[in-house]
Point group: C2
Chain length 461, copies 2
């Protein structure tokens, strides 16, 4: 077999970069769990008809068939005629999971879900065909209080802040509220709210002039209405002043809207709570539209400061109907971190790196193959106290065994006790191969410095 | 949308059972890392021609196509005409990863890999269409010393032993050596070794009489040769006596074989090391054949004691050619735990269960919605010291908030400090809802008992 070439859009990491990804995953998981979110995994496949309920995503779906399966097989195994496809996000499968297991879940139900998803899109920088997402959602049965719309971005702010010591850049979580936008647009006399949102959503890509033209052409706005929409989109801030700015603009346009007022009260509550609990992280930004039409309240996007070109690394919002079985409606609010997008930038731009490529803190040298059990016993004693250790693969010259450790970034090499040719007992010794310092040590008590125990993730120097 | 029905062969766990699965995954990961195995993840897809190199698995593969993709698209995106399929194990993708990244890996390379795999097989108890595997392999460039064949089952023995405190039954790792089998069969005069192995592999399923008939019909054996094969397959033991038994049998058959001798020396080294490092766990069992023809040395199977009907939960072996690029050959040895098979039995037979269904150790009650920030502050103070906490979803009557905690198995409810109607200050209090005991507490110092901090996994009572 010739050397295989990478598959575009299907990223894979070398072991040291995988340690960066694991650090990100372990950190966000811990934050989610500290906030009481329960882990859920769903199967990778869903019936195609469920995946295609939102027509706009149909082009992205990977469809499955068994190589030697017949159509009859597929129908029999899936219970429908549509076949199966790989999920393209974790929201559609979670909605199905909630309906399927509602009788066994306690609501409001807080879950996190960290899994791969697949989209048959054209691969670009930070946009993959297979990637890992880390989602949190809170879902209620019948109703879901607004305060969860404050909680979820603060949990994400905490998860992303917990990555800062590893050298991950700071983030800005941008929030808006659909009720504000819809109340404002309707108050202006624009009834095709989805068309307005779709146009405003393009602001960062095409600029205000082009958006103004789109608003006129596609949302039926007058030039004055388009200007008012752009004026709203220009408002942003990190305190309740942002709400005052919207009220001033609405008053100037003669808008009175109960929906707008409700949205502003919500947005204010979010901004005030965020300024206390995550100061400088959450920012109200009235241009955040999120194209998807199922959001009904708060919407969120997140940029990595200094890496805005990457696009949003953590997005989501409130949806009044995450799922419905005809009797009960399940509203939800959630956010999703694009783990692969984030990690690809962290390692691709060498922002952070792992201190070594293997878990081992120690390589135990092997003096001769006959005494390998002595080396194994040292390793066992160290592992019993939680120290990651491997034993050298061969009883080569010690210089070669030290190079084995060095190539992997392992900081310590252990030389087992032995008997010198002159019959003198040589005690166990451990060498810090960075400093060259070598000291006598006891495998039942020696401890590496805490910083060296496990590989850590740090700002690349 | 009506209530969805489960998809046969695609298991999903409720939150409490997912905690059992997470415990299993976290435990095996920790053991693998303590032994210096580095984490690798590979993409879910491989070119179909690679997946189908072993013809016997072709029926199991799920093939992918983009819903709106053209054939030209697929060719352009995959670089070949065969399209893509989901991987059916983690060995084929790892072999490809080794070849693709060989220049960036340090050999011998020890990796673990925990991922989903997919097989379009008919679902049965413990046999799924989507399931999680946890693999370890050691791969060398050019050569790979035998001692790794001793190491990998001992790592697995340790990983599975680490699950025992949670109530997972003990395991028996059964080992054999292809060289012993092949040397014995050839020494007997049987040249179609693969046919003999395939027949012997059916021993547990069809019994010795039927296997004897198969050996005659399909491996060209005489009745006497078949009887000798069955006599070999009947040998098992946990110390070097098992090697003596094989030698006695071989001598009685007049067999002299260098390959047999080499295999017996290897098997003896494994049994001796295992009897010291994992007594009672590893057992030489000469009937273990493993149908796959790429194993060339040790082969392993693992049964959960008392649940032998489940089949092997951890299998693998040594293969002289894991991968080859024409210049370098990469031999390997590895074992794979069937996580989904194991977990499905653990939760399905109620062998183990989680102490609660959510991470939270504490629910902080909310006195009124106006004082929710007070409750949030208590939660923040507790989380800052690593205590998983959630805040009650609504300022309902305290009885209802206690039931909220109780339904999820959360042991503690925290009542924030408040002012009584008579103006008297009421301090923070925390209630153990199991005992009903309620005490004054300080959110900056209170600590739950260590056993209650995180959900744990225990033998079901």
């Amino acid at each position: 077999m010739a050397r295989p070439t990478p598959l575009s859009g299907f990223p894979e990491w070398l072991p040291a970069d995988r340690i960066v990804e694991q650090h990100v995953l372990d950190t966000v998981r811990r934050t989610f769990e500290l906030h009481g979110f329960a882990s859920v995994e769903t199967r990778a496949v869903e019936p195609l008809d469920q995946l295609l309920r939102k027509g706009e995503t149909s082009k992205e779906v990977y469809v499955l068939r068994r190589l030697q399966g017949t159509e009859t097989d597929e129908v029999a195994s899936t219970g429908d005629t549509g076949g199966l496809g790989l999920h393209f996000d974790l929201t559609v499968p979670f909605a199905r999971y909630v309906l399927e297991h509602a009788g066994h879940l306690a609501f409001p139900f807080k879950r996190y879900q960290i899994q791969k998803v697949w989209r048959g899109e054209r691969p670009q920088d930070g946009r993959f065909r297979e990637f890992t997402q880390a989602d949190i959602d809170v879902v209620g049965a019948g109703d879901l209080p607004y305060h969860f719309e404050v909680e979820v971005p603060l949990v994400m702010a905490e998860a992303l802040a917990a990555l800062r010591p590893a050298g991950v850049p700071e983030v800005r979580i941008l929030v808006n509220n659909r009720k504000v936008a819809e109340g404002f647009y309707r108050g202006l006399g624009l009834e095709d709210v989805d068309a307005v949102l779709r146009s405003v959503d393009k602001l960062d890509k095409v600029g205000p002039e082009r958006v103004a033209a789109l608003l006129v052409d596609e949302a039926g706005a007058t030039a004055e209405q388009a200007a008012a929409c752009l004026a709203l989109a220009a408002i942003s801030g990190e305190d309740r002043g942002v709400v005052d700015d919207v009220r001033v603009l609405a008053d100037a346009q003669g808008i009175t809207s109960e929906l707008l007022e409700e949205g502003l009260r919500e947005l204010e509550a979010l901004v005030v709570a965020a300024s206390e609990r995550a100061p400088g992280v959450v920012r109200a930004d009235l241009k955040i539209a999120r194209g998807l039409d199922y959001y009904t309240g708060s919407v969120y996007e997140t940029v990595l400061v200094g890496h805005e070109d990457l696009g949003s690394i953590c997005s989501g919002g409130r949806y009044d109907t995450l799922a419905s079985d005809g009797t009960t409606t399940y509203p939800g609010v959630g956010l999703s971190i694009g783990i692969s997008r984030l990690v690809s930038r962290l390692v691709g731009a060498r922002l952070v790196s792992a201190t070594r490529s293997v878990p081992s803190a120690v390589v135990v040298a092997v003096t001769t193959e006959d005494t390998r059990p002595t080396s194994d016993a040292v390793a066992t004693a160290l592992r019993a106290r939680g120290i990651p250790v491997e034993v050298a693969p061969a009883a080569a010259k010690f210089g070669k065994q030290i190079r084995y450790a060095d190539r992997r970034g392992v900081p310590f090499v252990w030389f087992p006790a032995t008997t010198a040719p002159d019959g003198e007992a040589v005690p166990h010794q451990v060498k810090d191969i960075r400093s060259g310092e070598q000291v006598a040590a006891d495998p039942t008590t020696w401890q590496p410095p805490a910083d060296d125990l496990w590989p850590s993730v740090r700002t690349t120097d």
